[in-house]
Amino acid sequence: MCESCGCGDPGLVPVEIHERILASNDERAAHNRQHFAGAGMVAINLMGSPGAGKTAVLETTARRSGEKRLGAMTGDLATERDAERLKAVGIPSVGITTGSACHLDATLVHAALHDAPWNVLDFLFIENVGNLVCPAIYDLGQTANVVALSVTEGVDKPLKYPVMFRVAELVLITKVDLLPHLPGVEMEELYANLAKVTPGPRIIEFSAVSGVGVKEWIRWLEGLATGRSGKAAFIGGASS
């Protein structure tokens, strides 16, 4: 502890770092982002609780997106069931099994990029591990974050999981066809809660069953490809 009295103790040297702890993930994410931009591709990090309907959103997208070339990576702790579901509707997909990890990171996504010819796609959907916490803090190199929130999860989810909803460029409220059976779910309250955790949220009400919101969702995706979709651009004219 001592530098001056000659007692032989080592000196304590403070080293200022001031770096993000996840800096190495950020670097790999930036590398992925270069890949995506180089290929002229939009990459979507699709997050949400297990059972929020993420895979159903993508199945519906496949049926309704016309000539666009879609691809997907699906993250789960075990099984490649989601990837199989998406292949069945014509989306080339790679399953990423994380073992016990609760989120995807930029390295896992990069490794999966090498497993398929991703550079011929218009849209790459990265379906993250179902979880409303951990995936929010790992940049994957995505063009945009989309969070799927199903109406059956209740209107207070944004207040309970502010970290996740803060990073959402778009919130897809899924399963809205079930609303007539959920008398306690007030959409107004859900919108108000979202506005308290993310500034100017862009929200689309969606149903894979009735088809509500599908057109709007696809238009939003197309807007990302041409640089028109953004978060602030949609908030009642208050674009910045």
């Binding site: 080592p10 040297v13 403070p14 080293v15 770096e19 996840l22 990890a101 916490v133 951990c134 993310t198």
Partner: protein, 114 residues
């Protein structure tokens, strides 16, 4: 429990820095955690307790956490928007932006250097 993977990244960075300085040991590690970082201080500490046993240079290191409260401000007029309110400036009608509170930072380390 992504705190384990956060601590893993932290330890790699700290160990590399300690080796670069030819340190005998790491005495203290200070990190900054934002309220909206998604990282829980208690869980980070317990993950650290486990991981430091595996890194000889960090075996006796202390982890100090600087908690950073979240603050939202108007991007135009800089007015602060209180927690729990709609994140839009009442004056400018513009969406707020996060001024601080999402940090997951390695601030500094203190090394025992012979």
């Amino acid at each position: 429990m992504h705190e384990y993977s956060v601590v893993q990244s932290l330890m790699q960075r700290v160990e590399a820095e300690a080796l670069a300085h030819k340190a005998r040991a790491v005495d203290r590690i200070t990190v900054g955690l934002g309220e909206l970082s998604g990282v829980d201080p208690e869980l980070l500490l317990s993950a650290f307790e486990l991981f430091r046993q595996m890194v000889p240079l960090c075996r006796n290191a202390q982890l100090q956490i600087r908690e950073i409260p979240a603050a939202w401000r108007c991007r135009v007029c800089d007015t602060e928007i209180s927690k729990g309110e709609v994140l839009r400036c009442k004056i400018c009608q513009k969406p707020a932006q996060l001024a601080c509170g999402d940090e997951i930072l390695l601030d500094r380390i203190e090394l025992e250097v012979p």
